[in-house]
Symmetry: C2
Subunit: 341 residues, 2 copies
């Protein structure tokens, strides 16, 4: 069985607000997600380990200092405002260049939060740090020789930019893991993102770099969040040109289409020949996920796990999305089972 890392601090992050089509809805990125996955892990016989504390250095290798300060201290400033909501919700965004950096917390919130799906409450910082530590612990385990390791990261990370939260994400666990592996001596790291949403934060963090390859499979952003990134013509910039590859697929796609894209992505990763593979694992490609975007079956999840295992790289598997559904946990376990034989 591969090792599984999880930090119970995630329970402190229970976001409330979410705005979709102009209507407030309950946030989908809830602690119940972890409960379902922990339950399935226990049923399958996995032991869950507490992560090691890695400190701030691996976070600073990916995120800006002022963003980390905002995540740590912003909520205190926010709740001290007159008539503020209990959690940070931004309302104005620096959408054009030549933007200055304000001191007011409302302005900083807009600067550091890219959408209405990542409210910050008093426990968000502790939860995000726990998730990053879990990702780092799994990475350390694999670098020490394990075939693979899994981190149940909550909140997830792949929509977080270097200086900006978005889409339920605050610290980019996959980017932090990949950068940590680089800093510990791996020369080439690949990130394979199989969440139903494009991993826009991860893409952006490594967009101009040739040492971290990024491949993402996801719903076509022309019709689906995150809307602005994940297009096939986004292939990297500068030194990173050709080191990003996107596989947007039509909404409604099932596992046949998905596995074909996955096969292509793995072939591209093989050309890159990474020392380590980080998988951003989203279970929201499931036919039963509340987002109802893709139609991957239980058997599809087993096939995905097996195809990634067959690629043969030391593999760090990090939880991204996947929302409350009866088979959320069992589908996740089907993927990691391929590495536990």
């Amino acid at each position: 069985m591969i090792k599984v890392f999880y930090d119970a601090a995630e329970k402190q992050h229970a976001p409330d607000n979410f705005v979709i089509r102009g209507v407030r809805q309950p946030n989908k990125e809830v602690p119940e997600r972890s409960e379902l996955m922990l339950s399935a892990l226990a049923d399958a016989g996995y032991e869950v380990s507490e992560p090691e504390e890695f400190g701030l250095a691996p976070l600073k290798a990916v995120h800006t200092e002022r963003y980390l300060d905002f995540l740590e201290n912003g909520h205190g400033e926010w709740v001290a405002l007159a008539d503020s909501a209990p959690e940070i919700i931004p309302n104005a965004f620096p959408v054009n260049p030549h933007a200055g950096y304000p001191t007011a917390i409302v302005g900083r919130a807009g600067f550091h939060m890219g959408d209405m799906a990542c409210p910050i409450n008093a426990g968000t910082w502790a939860a995000a740090r726990g998730a990053a530590n879990a990702a780092l612990s799994a990475t350390k385990q694999v670098r020490q020789g394990a075939r693979a390791a899994y981190a149940l990261c909550r909140p997830p990370g792949h929509h977080a930019f270097g200086d900006r939260a978005a889409g339920f994400c605050f610290l980019n666990n996959a980017a932090i893991a990949a950068q940590y592996a680089r800093d510990q001596g791996d020369e080439r790291v690949a990130i394979l993102d199989v969440d139903v949403h494009h991993g826009n934060g991860t893409q952006d963090i490594f967009y101009d770099r040739a040492d971290v390859f990024f491949a993402s499979l996801h719903g076509d952003p022309a019709e689906f969040y995150p809307f602005f990134w994940g297009y096939a013509d986004q292939t990297g910039a500068g030194a990173g040109e050709g080191f990003t590859v996107n596989y947007p697929m039509p909404l409604g796609s099932g596992e046949v289409v998905f596995l074909e894209s996955l096969n292509n992505a793995i072939a591209r990763i093989a050309e890159f020949a990474p020392d380590l593979l980080v998988v951003s694992l989203g279970i929201d490609i499931s036919i039963n996920d509340p987002y109802a975007a893709f139609k991957v079956s239980a058997e599809g999840f087993s096939a995905i796990g097996q195809m990634i295992e067959n690629a043969g790289y030391p593999t760090v598997i990090l939880q991204e999305g996947g929302y409350v559904a009866p088979d959320l946990g069992t589908n996740m376990v089907r993927v990691i089972e391929a590495f536990s034989k």
Copy 2:
């Protein structure tokens, strides 16, 4: 008396939602604003003229085609979505470079709307076009030899970018007026923005140009909307370097501080020697404005009008902000009275 232009189509735009500090509040940019100003104009003996229809060409000279298409047709697509709010409210924003352009209306809304203060309803396009036509009619009047003219523009314009609505604004009336004057033969046009909020859209539209000078007086963006623009070190870029000047002032400033900045701004405009001056007039610098940011008195408004009149340029005065307060209309009339003696 100077001529006053106003299009009653503005009544069709009555935005509902507004999010501040994470809490939904009623939108402040309401038709009652115009009623108060029309009433004060009538009391002072001004006749109100309907604007001429200028068509789309002057709008296309400032705004992108896809943004204008979004303003005209987006609301119909939005209300056709399942479970959508009655007005367009964005939720995800293209905050980093390398952004693609989606087809889905939710994504286009985020691309074309910079904050939570510019909801679009069925009448927004007609209202915004009416305001732009009023601004153009006033500009034409001045170009034909009038000392000055005033347009009661609602919705206002100065936060609208070339491709993006923001802060109650959709079409940038001041930019449209300035560009129209340029296209009609004025070689140099200056825009003087005395709204309490920085005119970030106007700044952005002309940021790299030397033919349109932009000066803005406003609350310090470090502590006040629009947060990311309006800093003193934002002075233009490329060919436009030195053709933008910002006067951020501390919140709580009164007319002494304001008139000193205004005097400096007018001196900078004199160096530029414009053929025509466009004034973005905000009454929200009033001590009685609900934003409570500045403390300009009734006499202060008269002094502002007189100082701008003394500058001696053919002057187009366009209404920007200023919210419901008993003296909203009378303070506005005090400014334009300087040109009506």
